[in-house]
Amino acid sequence: MGNKIATFTEEQLEDYQDCTFFTRKEILRIFKRFRDMGDPGAVPRSMTPQQASTLRIPLSCLTRIPELKENPFRQRISEVFAKCQSSGLSTSVASDEGICFEEFLEMMSVFSEQAPRDLKVFYAFKIYDFDEDGVLGLNDLERTCRQLVQDDLNADEVATVCRKVLEESDIDGDGVLSYLEFEHVVTRASDFMATFHIRI
């Protein structure tokens, strides 16, 4: 427990607990991972609130987490979560590349077991929405598919798959998947909750 006091202030921990689905121990564990992830010495042992949101380590470091290393969407995930910061109304002082601890925490929170379904679906949608136009177009689907199968399907097959996906889930027939349609499909998949999950 001594470590806890050294790393964060009590208030900080309380706030983090309010904002995420983690308990104190898990937050500390995530911090440890964050520290391991960065280059040695890059992350200090104790974090002030200032540092937690500004000190960034490069995105390439994220691949040191095995789950993200193997994940075909790692690029996209890091983009989504690192960009959250700048899209907010607050002033983003930091450089564009890199992820700070708070973002990392947020990411893990989304992927945690306790996160509700809607939150997960929301972020899943964001991840699959490559061009960030608010809908999953054919283009997005194709990119998703290609990244998922890693060039084991030829272009024709990929196109067929995407067409089929649209056929199945594009309820209003506008050629793209809106968030609602996406939600509709994904929430009925029995194992979405089990697979969209990274254990810390």
């Binding site: 706030d15 309010d18 904002c19 308990t23 104190r24 121990k25 609130p49 949101s53 500004t54 987490i65 095995p66 789950e67 193997e70 075909p72 910061q85 899209s87 907010g88 109304l89 607050s90 002033t91 708070e102 973002e103 925490l105 929170s109 509700p116 379904r117 939150l119 929301f122 972020y123 699959y128 689907l141 998922l148 199968v149 084991d152 399907l153 097959e157 067929t160 798959v161 089929k164 996906v165 199945e168 889930s169 209003d172 027939g173 506008d174 609602l180 349609e181 499909v185 994904v186 929430t187 009925r188 998949a189 029995s190 194992d191 979405f192 909750m193 089990a194 697979t195 999950h197 990274i198």
Partner: protein, 1121 residues
């Protein structure tokens, strides 16, 4: 970023209120959803309330410097505080970046802190009770929240095996890990169950139970003690374990001295535990089903699911990732192929034949397993030499082997069927499930059969307790006399039917008596100690006299009275002997038992039940006489010797003498009986006399004699006699309960083995352990040694061991889950009769956890293909629930139907186990409620209830049907609307083109001034379009609506012109416009199905309204982004 300037604060406030509003919105919608399971039908209403609420926020957060007096009354503050707290708890759910959330949280917290403090102060000042209560509640909620958080923190410290599971997950994906999470969950459940059982049943029993009242339950015999701690003994759950809280038999049936009602608690706790198991499973299932919506079909959106949920985010291992990719690709290809040739069903006769063959094989295998189990149990109830390990454990070994070996057969057979792998897997699962259930059930039925015979034996051995009570009741009733007749009615019926037969049999006596005298020499040397063998002898003895009866049909009436006298005497005596036989080693007296039996027969009781009845009664009376009469009676030497328990040495000659001197001794003993109010001699004579008189009465008399031993009729009036007898019985029973410890050695020994509840528990405990051992062995041999072999022999082998034949084992999730389910079923079944089983199971699950995780990580490879059948979470729980239900059935049967053994366990002395609860209930409740309960339990209520349930079920079923229909209708309607919409759209576009052409020309010609104006507006429009999306949409919608109105208004013309202009000059913008307006339509209609129904051809006000709503919606959307 943290440094917030004053200028920014305003913006922050806005943001804060907006975010808070959003949280509230989500919360309210989710609440509504959970309450009504559908989205709010009218979004506007909800929005209005929300806006009202959000205004509260702006004021509340805005007035940072304003004192509370200004902000309003206390109620308002309370309200605001509550809202802030809701914000605090809801902020997690929002998809915002953390820093925004943090800011929100801090603001809310600071507000709460500030205002709560002030509020507290104010409340402290006032003295009214209401304020005091409010203050206390405030304080309590604060503390409670703190405590809860701390508890949650603590909980995560306690979650075991997290890292282990994580590692497995990253290596094998979530499918394999689901086994381990399931295992962990089961572990928790078992922990709770074990804790409850130990805390409320085992520990109180250990601490408070009165050992003096426990009788035989907690005492080990000396010879048992010798071996009690040997490994083999422990292995069979005999010895120390048998006389421990582990098993049912150890518990006492007396309330403890401190007033703790042990038997009742035992019953209630077990009930609670079963209910808890049900609830836990159901809760988990509900939780899971909340996570994913129900689907009508398994593979409704194959491609979408494969695409969006195909990747397992937990995979963190290169090989697994590769496998996963491969499996996804394979899945896609398969699906594509299936899609390509969907309904191509080849009806190959060979395959069909093969499938039939396989099914026959499977069924015969199932039958074989059931047969084997039944056979084993039947064999186990036979006598066998004690030290044969195989015989002792064959049930468990065979059952465990079946559970491990048969699935392999099924798998091989399943390959022959050439189904699709997914279907094959499902079939395999179903078959294993059936196998497990069949095994358990055949075991249970066989055990129940065994229990039946055991209870029979028990009843025979039962010396005192139950009969005494029985007699007691009778004694009370006997005054009425009619009652007695009623109880004997069945017997009288039997007897009355064959009066002549009875006469015949009385005749037999002559013939049998000489026979009896002959028999003893034959049997003297047979060391027959067992009930079984005794019964056999009965049978032998039974047949021969019967033959004689028919031979000597003639001289019935001659010497009957005298003979019967003899017989009855002998009966007296032999019943004594009988008791001795049961209790002592003396072999000689078995013959006398024969005698008694033949006499029984000769007396006309040909049915087995009556003989047993007689047998019981006689033993009881013997018991009583043993304690008293025998001691006093010195005339019969052998009898006295039995009392001193040295009968082992009695020689055959002595016994022979005894038989010779039977009549004389009988008279002596009978005299003694007389002294103890058992007038055997006189009674017998009475019987005979009555016998000759009337057939009906005589039979009843006889029955009474049989039932109540000889003592019934010392006088001519039977009524009176009965009464007397019963009184005597009372006195003897009290003696006997105390002297039960004085039971002879052999009886005690036999009784030990006859506690069927403990036997049941032992059987299941043995199974559990054997299952564990086998699973260890099989994991080692199938997984570990195979992996070692493959790994190290690969370099010097002629083919590639890793790729071809043996390969590495893969983790069979489905089968392993089934194994867990099966194991849990056994626990639930045995739990009632052995509370310690849960602790054993806890250990087992822990071991399994380590074993399996170790095996998986060291010697298994990830799956190449993953099928869904073994993955959906609720599937396992559904299996578990079914298992629980099926396992509770036999336990329930045992509770409400079987008679608990009278010498062990907490429910001894009750006729049925559940009487312990009902009796307590009736004791504690006042009379009116009791009557109510009686009525409720009567068919008068139960049958209507069942009918009502059926009706409700029927109604529900029909409701679901209609709902499904509606669902389909709506779906079709939606599609229809969609196509209609699209068609209309095209029409509109076309029309607009025409129209704009016309109007433009017209306007140009007629009003040249306006065209200039229109260009101006157009310019304005362009600016507007460029400015925001929102306005564009709004405009476009209103435009369309007006267009569809087709009114030749000036405005519309103007607009049309504008759009036309746009069309002409800025084609891209126009196309974009149309697309956008199309989009807005689409998004609306997809949002809620109500909107498409709004008439387009309505007045302008409507269109205004619509456009506003559309803009609001789009605003929301943009905010979300």
């Amino acid at each position: 970023m943290q440094r917030i300037s004053i200028a920014e604060e305003e913006g922050d406030e806005d943001e804060y209120s907006a975010s808070a509003c959003e949280i509230m919105q989500q919360r309210s919608s989710s609440r509504r959803q959970s309450r009504r399971r559908r989205r709010p039908s009218c979004p506007f209403e909800a929005e209005a309330t929300l806006r009202r609420r959000s205004s509260v926020y702006t004021t509340s957060s805005g007035e940072t410097a304003i004192s509370i007096e200004e902000s309003g009354s206390q109620e308002q503050i309370f309200e605001k505080l509550k809202l802030h707290k809701e914000v605090l708890s809801g902020v997690k759910q929002q998809p915002w970046p953390l820093c925004r959330k943090m800011k929100l949280v801090r603001q809310a917290k600071s507000y709460i802190r500030r205002h709560e403090g002030v509020l507290q102060e104010r409340l402290a000042q006032t003295r009214s009770t209401k304020d005091a209560i409010a203050r206390i509640s405030l304080y309590i909620t604060k503390k409670w929240q703190y405590c809860r958080r701390e508890l949650v923190n603590l909980q995560t410290w306690l979650v075991p095996w997290e890292l282990r599971i994580k590692e497995i997950e990253s290596h094998f994906g979530s499918a394999v890990a689901s086994y381990f999470t399931f295992l962990r969950w089961l572990f928790w459940i078992n922990l709770v169950i074990a804790a409850i059982l130990t805390a409320f049943v085992a520990i109180p029993e250990m601490l408070t139970a009165d050992p003096a009242a426990a009788g035989e339950r907690k005492i080990m015999l000396r010879e048992e003690k010798l071996k009690s701690k040997h490994l083999l003994t422990l292995w069979e759950f005999e010895g120390v374990l048998k006389y421990s809280p582990f098993f049912y038999g150890w518990y006492t049936n007396q309330d403890s001295r401190s007033g703790y009602r042990l038997p009742l608690v035992y019953f209630v706790t077990n009930l609670v535990v079963y209910i808890y198991s049900f609830l836990a499973i159901l809760r988990k299932m509900a939780e899971n089903s909340r996570l994913s919506k129900l689907t009508e079909k398994e593979d409704e959106c194959v491609f979408s699911w494969k695409l969006f949920t195909g990747w397992d985010f937990m995979i963190g291992n290169t090989e697994t990732a590769h496998n996963r990719t491969a499996s996804i690709v394979l899945g896609f290809k398969e699906a594509l192929l299936e899609e390509a040739e969907k309904e191509k069903d080849e009806r190959n006769w060979k395959i069909i034949l093969m499938r039939i063959f396989v099914n026959i094989c499977v069924i015969s295998l199932l039958g074989l397993s059931a047969y084997a189990v039944v056979k084993m149990v039947a064999r186990s109830s036979e006598e066998f030499e004690q030290n044969n390990w195989w015989r002792q454990n064959e049930i468990t070994v065979v059952m465990s082997l079946i559970t491990y070996v048969f699935p392999v057969f099924f798998e091989i057979l399943g390959l022959l069927e050439s189904y699709h792998p997914r279907k094959q897997l499902r079939l395999q699962l179903a078959r294993i499930m059936v196998l497990n259930l069949l095994n358990l059930y055949s075991l249970i039925f066989a055990l129940f059969e065994k229990i039946d015979s055991m209870t029979q034996d028990l009843r025979d051995l039962q010396p005192t307790i139950k009969n005494c009570t029985y007699k007691l009741i009778k004694c009370d009733d006997s005054l009425k006399q009619s009652q007695q007749f009623a109880t004997l009615a069945s017997l009288s019926l039997v007897l009355a039917s064959n009066v002549t037969g009875m006469q015949n049999k009385t005749e037999i006596l002559e013939t049998t008596l000489p026979q009896l005298s002959f028999i003893p020499p034959n049997f003297y040397l047979n060391p027959i100690l067992d009930e079984k063998s005794l019964e056999e002898i009965y049978n032998v003895g039974d047949y021969s006299p019967l033959d004689y009866t028919y031979d000597n049909y003639d001289d019935i009436t001659k010497n009957r009275s005298s003979f019967i006298e003899n017989i009855t005497k002998e009966m007296n005596f032999t019943t004594q002997m009988l008791q001795q036989n049961d209790t002592s080693d003396a072999t000689t007296f078995t013959t006398f038992e024969n005698l008694t039996d033949t006499i029984d027969l000769s007396e006309g009781i040909d049915t087995a039940s009556t003989t047993s009845n007689f047998f019981n009664e006689s033993t009881v009376s013997n018991e009583t006489t043993q304690e008293r009469d025998y001691n006093t009676s010195t005339s019969t030497d052998t009898v006295s010797s039995t009392i001193t328990e040295h009968l082992n040495e009695t020689s055959s000659t002595k016994a022979e003498d005894f038989t010779m001197s039977l009549p004389v001794e009988e008279s002596n003993t009978s005299d003694e009986y007389l002294t103890t109010a058992f007038n055997t001699n006189t009674k017998s004579s009475v019987i005979t006399t009555e016998f000759t008189k009337e057939p009906n009465i005589e039979t009843t008399n006889k029955i009474s004699t049989i039932d109540h031993y000889e003592g019934v009729i010392p006088l001519a009036e039977k009524d009176y006699d009965v009464k007397c007898f019963e009184q005597i019985c009372n006195t003897t029973t009290t003696q006997d309960t105390i002297s039960s410890s004085k039971l002879l050695d052999l009886t005690r020994k036999k009784l030990r083995r006859l506690c069927w509840e403990t036997m049941f528990g032992q059987e299941l405990a043995k199974l559990t352990v054997m299952d564990l051992v086998l699973s260890i062995i099989i994991t080692l041999s199938i997984d570990f040694f195979r992996a070692v072999f493959v790994r190290y022999m690969n370099s010097c082998w002629c083919w590639d061991l890793e790729k071809q034949f043996p390969q590495y084992g893969d983790f069979k999730i489905a089968e392993n889950i089934l194994h867990l389910v099966n194991n849990q079923g056994m626990i639930w079944m045995g739990m009632f009769f052995s509370p310690g089983l849960t602790i054993l199971n806890l250990l087992k699950l822990g071991i399994l956890m380590y074993l399996r995780s170790w095996a998986v990580l060291t010697c298994n490879v990830p799956h190449e293909i993953i099928f869904r059948a073994s993955r959906s979470n609720n599937f396992y729980f559904a299996l578990l629930l079914t298992m629980l239900f099926l396992c509770v059935l036999p336990v329930g049967y045992a509770i409400v139907w079987l008679e608990p053994s009278w010498h062990c366990g907490p429910f001894s002395g009750y006729e049925k186990i559940y009487y312990v609860a009902t009796e307590q209930l009736t004791d504690s409740l006042p009379d009116p409620i009791k009557r109510c309960l009686d009525y409720i339990a009567s068919p008068g209520i139960v049958i209507p209830l069942i009918v009502l349930m059926t009706l409700i079920i029927y109604y529900m079923v029909s409701l679901t049907g209609s709902l499904r229909e509606t669902n389909n209708d709506l779906k079709i309607q939606l599609r229809h609307e969609r196509t209609e919409e699209r068609r209309k759209l095209f029409k509109i576009v076309k029309k607009r083109e025409e129209l704009s052409d016309l109007s433009f020309l017209k306007w140009k010609r007629m009003l040249p001034v306006l065209s200039k104006k229109s260009t101006k507006t157009r310019a304005k429009d362009d600016v507007e379009i460029a400015r925001t999306d929102v306005n564009e949409r709004k405009r476009s919608t209103s435009e369309v609506i007006e267009l569809t109105d087709m009114e030749q208004d000036v405005i519309s013309h103007d607009q049309a012109q504008v759009s036309e202009n746009k069309h002409d000059e800025k084609a891209p913008i126009n196309s974009r416009l149309t697309r956008i307006f199309y989009d807005s339509w689409e998004s609306q209609s997809s949002d809620c199905a109500v909107i498409p129904e709004i008439r387009i051809n309505e007045a302008e006000g409507k269109s205004e309204y619509l456009s506003r709503s559309a803009s609001r919606k789009s605003h929301n959307v943009s905010e979300k982004k």
